[in-house]
């Protein structure tokens, strides 16, 4: 097995992903609203950064944070709309199957399950990505797994 990469200094992580994150947010929210969401995305990442154990899936992680920050921003503006924004995760062949299996889960549960079991991120980091706590992330993942099991046995 390959040895896990050390967590890079935050500056390097930020410099590598900021343009992609900004682009994603501008496409979803427009240039003006993207600015606040951009700052919030990297502040969340910074808060959870010490909880990371390895550097293997930092891109998937920060893009998930950005998507959820984007969803939150959208909900704040139009609270009456029931949002069905799919939480897309960057596709990697090895995880394609798990992503496919989980595509009927509610967005938050799906993100928690994929980040936990496909990307092996710690719950504290998943909580940051989802804009919730470590406990809430653990509960979302286990709710997602229960839902998958029920579907299996159906």
């Amino acid at each position: 097995m390959m040895e896990a990469m050390a967590i890079p200094p935050f500056e390097r992580f930020y410099a590598e992903h900021r343009d992609e994150v900004y682009g994603l947010l501008v496409r979803r929210l427009g240039r003006q609203r993207a600015e606040d969401a951009f700052q919030e995305t990297f502040l969340r990442a910074l808060r959870a950064y010490p909880a990371l154990r390895n550097a293997d899936h930092l891109r998937a992680w920060v893009l998930t944070i950005a998507r959820n920050v984007g969803i939150d921003a959208f909900r704040r503006e139009r609270p009456e709309v029931e949002l069905e924004v799919p939480v897309e995760l960057p596709s990697r062949p090895a995880y394609a199957e798990l992503e496919h299996l989980t595509d009927e889960l509610p967005p938050t549960e799906r993100a928690a399950v994929v980040l936990r079991y496909a990307y092996d991120l710690p719950y504290a980091a998943i909580g940051a990505a989802l804009g919730s706590s470590e406990d809430a992330a653990r509960q979302a993942a286990s709710a997602g797994v229960r839902r998958l099991r029920r579907r299996e046995t159906r």
Partner: protein
Amino acid sequence: MTVPTDLDNRFRDAADREGLVDVAYDLSDSPVGELLVAATGRGLCRIAYRPDAALDELAVDFGARVLRVPRRVERIRRELDEYFEGNRREFDLELDLTAVAGFNRQALDELARVPYGQLTTYGALAAKLGRPTAARAVGGAMNRNPIPIVLPCHRVVGAGGSLVGYAGGLERKETLLRLEGALL
């Protein structure tokens, strides 16, 4: 899509304001090349001649949240500029030496007392530390000095007066000593 500069700056300031930065740094031009200047909440913790490698070392020593936040090291940069212009002989800065322990730490504390423009030797520093035969160990401590220039390891030379060595390269050591008038 490139992040606008003002947005980038706002994020850096917000991160610092929220206390989420373990180490703040900036890059600074100087007569001895580009320097990385870094500080923790305790004070100046690093001056580096090789900024890229220093980022990784800072992450190991002080935490991975290493971020460029220019205003946090503004005062340090100003004092360095004054030093290089010949207008400052002593630095008035808080230092964070928590990453240096034991004999190396004692050697740096002793080094800090060597005045501007004066030379000392590895052996003389060792003697002051009560270990007259430890000149080589003093050399090792100088080699790993995390805050060169401010902690003046460039003022430490061999017993015969030869410059001997410098982690930043002998050329830089010579430049600093000429600036201080210690070399003709």
